[in-house]
């Protein structure tokens, strides 16, 4: 083999570079996401009523579809009440209903979204709950 030394060195360097992501991450598995639901609103609910609009497994798998359906129902059709499979009614609103219970966006939404590297653009318009301080918002009745 002509230039055997160069070829073999080149191959070793090449394989080393190509497999870099594999060996550089050995033993450094990303932390499993651990979304929290321990917000004050949820904790105040009695144990039996501590349920989301639909069963947990369905919410985990389908929440993005449900939110899309809600958006179209509210904006396009003016339907704002959702009757869940358990027969309870909910106001279809991300800011007023979902985030009322799940006021911990960082530990509830971002935990999994960051892990899965999905970047939903809800919050460019919708206002995320203030997680530290509560801002009192005066209603028009008071100011008029």
């Amino acid at each position: 083999m002509y230039d055997g030394g160069k070829i073999i060195t080149g191959l070793v360097v090449f394989i080393g570079l190509v497999t870099f992501p594999l060996w550089s991450n050995v033993g450094k598995a990303a932390k499993k996401p651990d979304p929290k639901i321990d917000t004050p609103v949820i904790q105040q609910l009695p144990e039996k009523e501590r349920k989301c609009i639909e069963p947990k497994a369905l919410m985990q798998a389908e929440h993005m579809k449900i939110l899309n359906d809600w958006r179209d129902a509210v904006v396009r059709d003016g339907n704002r009440i959702y009757v869940s499979s358990s027969g309870k009614s909910f106001n279809m609103s991300l800011q007023k209903e979902c985030m009322n219970c799940h006021s911990n966006k960082k530990k509830f939404c971002d935990e999994c979204h960051n892990y899965a590297d999905v970047k939903p653009y809800c919050w460019t318009c919708h206002i995320e709950p203030k997680e530290k301080e509560k801002v009192a918002w005066a209603s028009i009745e008071e100011n008029s």
Partner: protein, 257 residues
């Protein structure tokens, strides 16, 4: 060895049937994820066949207008930018700018200098809806010309089409210009158009639009299709004008002068 023509055609036929009908058969057999859920309008919602507003300019002062503008812009998180890139849902205008079709050389001093309250006219034949390429702007069954901010691509055709200047474009992120965010209503993002929505979110909860609520009776809001509604009574007993009626967009905001 090999297969004869008959066998080949059989296999090809079965494959074609499986390929065409297979996915729909699987979908039918699988249970739909959210089977029992239903959606419905809020029973408390105010409804009408054709929402309209009557502005009684005789009762309106500059302070009244300011109060209404503030109420609207505060609850809808409308940014206060203050340059040429301003965003407005409701604003005031002089008579000559509001009603440029009025050819009279002389008008009364009172009308000449009075502020006129301007907002989206929620036209019956809205030009903005006709030009919107994504159907982000559309007309609801109750006459409200509504926007779906999720769909707006910021092409600004609607702004060019609207003869009333009722639409504003977000040239930049509006958030830094919103003084006090109302956590119950979203803001907008860079690159979308926005305008008055006749407070659809308040009507859905059984509340009157914000400007009407703080107007002390100077604004009347109701159903134009109902002959006994407040707006129809006001229009029956007073002479009223509309902005640029010759364009044929049939505005649903009437002004009593």
């Amino acid at each position: 060895m090999g297969i004869n023509r008959r066998e080949f055609l059989k296999i090809a036929g079965i494959s074609a049937v499986a390929g065409l009908g297979g996915t729909s058969a699987i979908d039918l057999l699988r249970r739909a994820p959210v089977e029992a859920s239903q959606v419905s309008p809020n029973p408390k919602a105010l409804t009408a066949k054709r929402w309209a507003m009557v502005v009684d300019t005789r009762k309106l002062t500059e302070a009244d207008c300011k109060r209404m503008i503030e109420a609207c812009h505060r609850i809808h998180n409308v940014p206060d930018i203050g340059t040429k890139q301003e965003v407005k849902w409701i604003w005031t205008e002089e008579y000559k700018h509001a009603f440029p079709d009025d050819m009279n050389e002389f008008v009364s001093d009172e009308v000449k200098h009075k502020p006129f309250l301007m907002l989206c006219n929620h036209c019956d034949q809205p030009a903005c809806v006709r030009v919107c390429p994504t159907k982000a702007t559309y007309k609801r069954a109750d006459g409200i010309v509504m926007m779906d901010m999720h769909r707006c691509i910021g092409c600004r055709f609607c702004m060019a089409a609207c003869p009333f200047g009722a639409r504003s474009f977000n040239f930049g992120d509006p958030r830094p210009y919103v003084k006090e965010e109302n956590p119950k209503y979203p803001t907008r993002m860079r690159g979308v158009v926005e305008k008055c929505t006749f407070c659809t979110e308040r009507l859905a909860e059984g509340l009157m639009p914000a400007c009407v609520e703080v107007s002390n009776g100077a604004l009347i809001f109701g159903d134009l299709d109902d002959p006994n509604s407040e707006v129809r009574q006001a229009l029956r007993s007073n002479y009223s004008i509309r902005r640029k009626p010759n364009l044929g967009t049939q505005p649903c905001v009437y002004y009593i002068v």
